[in-house]
Symmetry: C2
Subunit: 217 residues, 2 copies
Amino acid sequence: MTTPTANHPQEPIRVVIVDDHPVVRSGMHTLLAASPCIEVVGESSNGDEVLTMVENTSPDVVLTDLRLGPGGDGVDVTKAVRGAHPDVAVLIITTFDHDADIVRAVEAGAAGYLLKDALPDEIVAAIRAAAQGETVLSAEQSQRVIDTLRVGGRPPSERELDVLRLVADGRSNDEIAKALFISRATVKTHLGHLFDKLDVDSRTGAVATARRLGLID
Amino acid sequence: MTTPTANHPQEPIRVVIVDDHPVVRSGMHTLLAASPCIEVVGESSNGDEVLTMVENTSPDVVLTDLRLGPGGDGVDVTKAVRGAHPDVAVLIITTFDHDADIVRAVEAGAAGYLLKDALPDEIVAAIRAAAQGETVLSAEQSQRVIDTLRVGGRPPSERELDVLRLVADGRSNDEIAKALFISRATVKTHLGHLFDKLDVDSRTGAVATARRLGLID
DNA sequence: CCGAGCATCAACCTTTCGGCCGATAGGCCC
DNA sequence: GGGCCTATCGGCCGAAAGGTTGATGCTCGG
């Protein structure tokens, strides 16, 4: 439903592409170039130069990978762009639909996100929707966001995640205690709280659930 | 062994691209088209039609994603192509360098593999090397293959992996026993053998190591 | 100021896990 | 046939993990 009440072929949607993979950048560029209603006005391989590029090219939509190399991810790009230019829509591209950062990106003002294996038509449709200020989230994707937000009601604390990451690495409580300079008792307390928040009852279960929600890895 | 004693710019390397992501396919095509020494003679979104395409287009190199959609992965493509046309080199593209299937692909006759975030020059260089019958494995990549082969000396049995997958899912030994219709004791035996093979001493450690080696997930 | 949440620790108890000792049975290879 | 590996099972035991209760000090917001 692109509500084509006012088509402006003479005013294509201006798009900036941000992705650290040359292959993806090139492919996205080629695919979008095939759409007359879209004009790619910039490409960036990292998040640092995006703001400058936005100011130089005045895009309608910034299409950014969620995972970039060093120097910021898609969430940072979203915050920076939306903070300085609230009229520019940000669309997230990601390889996985199980990534907790997607929630952070949406909270930071992203219009939605796309999977990298999306069909060209879907990508174009999403860009058009985003350019019109609409939000783009598929049913399955929305469900995941809701799932994560459910846990978001009781998000594990940073310290608890420290413990969880070491658990996921296969360390014992004793090793974790030494690594974090705390006592075994504290490790157990953190783990107990994690079990409550993640609704599990074992360390392996906590790792599995946290990984599913994208809290670790 | 195409004995490249003579360079033939008038005979570009014929390449077939196999990837289930339209974006990647398009990007790879565009990048390779920029190289005069390479000609893309075919594109496929899945592994099923590759053999027909190879027979129709007679490529020198098949560039295939490791993970394709339903209907076979890069390993299957490698086996099929190398089995029917041993003179056609197969190059694997993958997103992650920690994927046990890479080893299987190399064993199946792949000339090597590339990461999706490789630079265009690296990709072209790898294709040229593969077309000349060379093997393409970076130092880091080779190390991983060796690491995995080290475990390959004592590969976990299929049944042990069944147990391991459930452990990674957070199940207890009791739950695993019920799920696999075996007794707790057997689950413990399998796990003990896994600990030996993976050189760990806990279930979480086994999951961490197996994940690192690409044995699960 | 006081409650809520967090991080830290301790003692106690139950359950699970992991290590070690066995055993039986089937398949495969030399 | 005799190893070798795998899959299956049992019991025993110490160690680790998990559950419960309770405590202290900190920060933050109403």
